[in-house]
Symmetry: C2
Subunit: 351 residues, 2 copies
C-alpha cells in the first residue's frame, strides 16, 4: 500500500494544551507521525509519496471560507497583537449567543471558530493542516486509481473539526474533504468508517443531512468521553440523511469482543449501503496503552481490524490517520492494521 506523508506536520508543535481545565504537556506532538513513518518504512509497506497541492477549493467544499480565512492568518494576527507562543480561545458563542456576526476582536474570533481550549493554535497549525488535506486529496487520487487503496500519514487529525470550527486537536476535516472530493469526482456513495476512540463530531455534522455520504462510528460513550456533546446512538441522520448516520458508543473499558461486535453491526449497515469508496478514519487511540483513552485493542486486534476491512470488500479504500497518543506504539499499531488489510486483500485475490 502506498503512503502519502505530510512533511509539514512537524511545524505544528505545541508544548502544552489545556486538558480538563489544566495546562499539561501536549499529547498531539510531531513524534507521533515520526514513529508511524519509521514503522511504515521498517515494514516496507510500500512507496512513501509527497502530497500534491490541490489548492483551497476542495477545502472550501466542506469548510466555511470565512473559517479557513481566519485559520490561515490567525497565528500571525496573534503575534501582531503581541501574543507569544500558541494561541488558545477563551470564550464561546453557546446557547443564546450569536454566531452570525464575526467580531473584530481576535480573542472573540478564536472562540467563534472553536469548540474547546484543548487545541493549541501554533505557528505551524495552518501549514500542517493545509498540507494534511493536500496529502488526503493525493491519497484519494491513488485510491481512485489502479491502486484502489492508500494510506495518508498526517497530523493534526481532522475528525473533530466542524464546518466552521476547530477543536479536539483538529483544524481541517480530512475525512470530510476526501468524501466530498470523491463525490465531486463522480462517485455516488461514499462511506466513512471512524474507528478512532473518539466520536468524529465534525465529520458526522458535515454530512448529517445527506444520503450520499454514510458516517459510521464506534467510540467511547460521549457521556464520559470527549467530545461529550455528540456521538449518541440516537443520532441517525436528519432530513434526506435520515438513516445514513450510525453511532456505536461503547462504555470506557469495553472489551475487545464488544468492540468487534459493534464493528460488525456497522459493517452490516455499510454493506447494505454498498459504498464505492470506504474512507477509514484510522485513530489507534483504541490501543490499551493509550494515555487518554480506555479501550483495550492491541497488535493482534489491529491486524484483525485490517483483515476485516479487506474482507468488507469496498471497491476502493482510503485510510486517514486520526488519533493515537501512545507515541511509540502508534506506528506499530497503524502498520498492523495496514498489513492486516494487505494480507486480507491478498487472500481475497487468491480466492
Amino acid at each position: 500500500m502506498k503512503t502519502v506523508y505530510n512533511p509539514q506536520h512537524a511545524g505544528h508543535a505545541a508544548t502544552h494544551e489545556f486538558f480538563r481545565g489544566r495546562l499539561v504537556p501536549a499529547f498531539e506532538i510531531p513524534a507521533r507521525a515520526d514513529y508511524v513513518l519509521k514503522a511504515v518504512q521498517a515494514a516496507a509497506l510500500g512507496e512513501v509519496l509527497a502530497p500534491v497541492d490541490h489548492g483551497l477549493a476542495p477545502l472550501e467544499r466542506v469548510h466555511a471560507p470565512a473559517y479557513l480565512r481566519f485559520l490561515r492568518g490567525a497565528h500571525a494576527e496573534w503575534r501582531a497583537l503581541g501574543g507569544e507562543g500558541d494561541a488558545f480561545p477563551a470564550v464561546w458563542p453557546v446557547r443564546s449567543l450569536r454566531s452570525d456576526v464575526e467580531p473584530q476582536s481576535f480573542a472573540a474570533r478564536m472562540g467563534l471558530y472553536s469548540m474547546d481550549s484543548g487545541t493549541p493554535l501554533t505557528a505551524g497549525a495552518w501549514e500542517a493542516a493545509y498540507w494534511g488535506a493536500q496529502a488526503t486529496l493525493s491519497g484519494l487520487e491513488i485510491a481512485l486509481g489502479d491502486e484502489r487503496r492508500a494510506y495518508v500519514l498526517t497530523r493534526p487529525p481532522g475528525h473533530h473539526a466542524g464546518a466552521d470550527f476547530f477543536g479536539g486537536y483538529c483544524f481541517i476535516n480530512n475525512a470530510a474533504v476526501a468524501a466530498q472530493a470523491a463525490r465531486d469526482a463522480g462517485l455516488q456513495r461514499v462511506a466513512i468508517l471512524d474507528v478512532d476512540y473518539h466520536h468524529g463530531n465534525g465529520t458526522q455534522a458535515i454530512f448529517y443531512e445527506r444520503a450520499d455520504v454514510f458516517y459510521a462510528s464506534l467510540h467511547g460513550d460521549p457521556q464520559t468521553e470527549y467530545p461529550f456533546f455528540l456521538g449518541h446512538a440516537d443520532e441517525r441522520g436528519a432530513g434526506a440523511g435520515l438513516g445514513f448516520n450510525a453511532n456505536e458508543p461503547l462504555a470506557a473499558g469495553s472489551s475487545n469482543e464488544a468492540w468487534f461486535a459493534a464493528l460488525e453491526r456497522l459493517l452490516g449497515r455499510l454493506q447494505v449501503f454498498a459504498p464505492e469508496l470506504l474512507i477509514v478514519s484510522l485513530g489507534v487511540d483504541t490501543y490499551g496503552g493509550d494515555p487518554i483513552s480506555h479501550f483495550k485493542l492491541d497488535r493482534p486486534e489491529f491486524a484483525a481490524l485490517g483483515e476485516r476491512l479487506a474482507a468488507f470488500g469496498a471497491p476502493r479504500t482510503l485510510f486517514l490517520q486520526e488519533g493515537g497518543y501512545a507515541t511509540e506504539a502508534i506506528g506499530l499499531n497503524v502498520v498492523a492494521v495496514l498489513q492486516g488489510f494487505e494480507r486480507g486483500l491478498g487472500r481475497a485475490g487468491s480466492r
Copy 2:
C-alpha cells in the same frame, strides 16, 4: 438609601483566571466588595442590612433547575475527582453539538453549563452567588416597600449568566431574578437598565421574547469587547418581546458625551415603557481607570448618572452591583452614583 450586603461574597476568592487564553491574576476579587462597603459606611449612605433567605424557588424562575443543581454541587464534585483549587471548563457545545443531553463527565458538564474559561468555579462560588441572589430579593422587598429604593452590594456579578450557563464572572443573574420576582409580586412592567461596561447577554437573553421586562443596555461594542457574541444594536427583542430590548453599543474609548447621549436615548425609550420598577445593573467598570474596560467616566459623571436616574422618576428603583475592577475606586464610584440619586430625589421632593 438602604444597602443589603452579601457577606458570603468573601468565600468566592479566585487567585487566577483565564484572560484571552492566558492564566492571569483574578480581577473579580473579594476586595472589590470590601472597598464598596467601606465607602458606603464612610458616606453614611444608610442602614446596611443582611440578606433574608428566600430559598431556591425564585432562582428557578429564571434559571434551569438542572443548571442550579449542577452549580450547587460542582466544586465538591471537582474535589471528589481529585481536583485542586478552582475548576475551569475546557470544552463547549457550540454549533452542531448537542446541549440536550447532560453528560456524566464532570468536565463535560462544566462546559455544558458555561460560556467561557474566564470564570473560575471556586469552593465558595455557589454560596456567594446564592446569597447574592438572596440579597437581591431582600433589596427588592425594600424597594417594593415604603423605601422605594435600595442598593444591593454583592459579588460575583450576575448579568452575563444565562438561563443555564455561567460566564463573565457571573453564576446567577441577579437582575433577572429581581425582575421576575417583581413580576411575580404583581408588578406589570419592569425595566432593567444595564450601565455596566459590558453587555448583559444573560439578562437580555432571558427576557428577549417578553414584553413585560424591558432590557436596555449601553456598553462597549461587542465587536471588540466582551461578551463579543451579543449586544449589537439590531437586537430589539423577538416575538412578543419585539421592541422591548434596546442596545447602545459604543466604541471602546467613547467620550463621556457620547455615553450620556446614549443614556438619554435609552431613558427616552424607557419613559415610554413607564416601568413600575427600574432595576439598574450598576457596573462601574465604565470608570476611566478600570483595568479591563475602555470608557472614561469619573466621579462627576457617576454623580450625574445618579441624579439623572432620580430625575427619570421611576416609582421604585433597585440598584444591583455588577462589574468594576479598579478595586480601590469602585466604592467611591458606586457611592457617587447612589448619593447623586439621593440628591436628585431630594430635589424632586422639594419641587
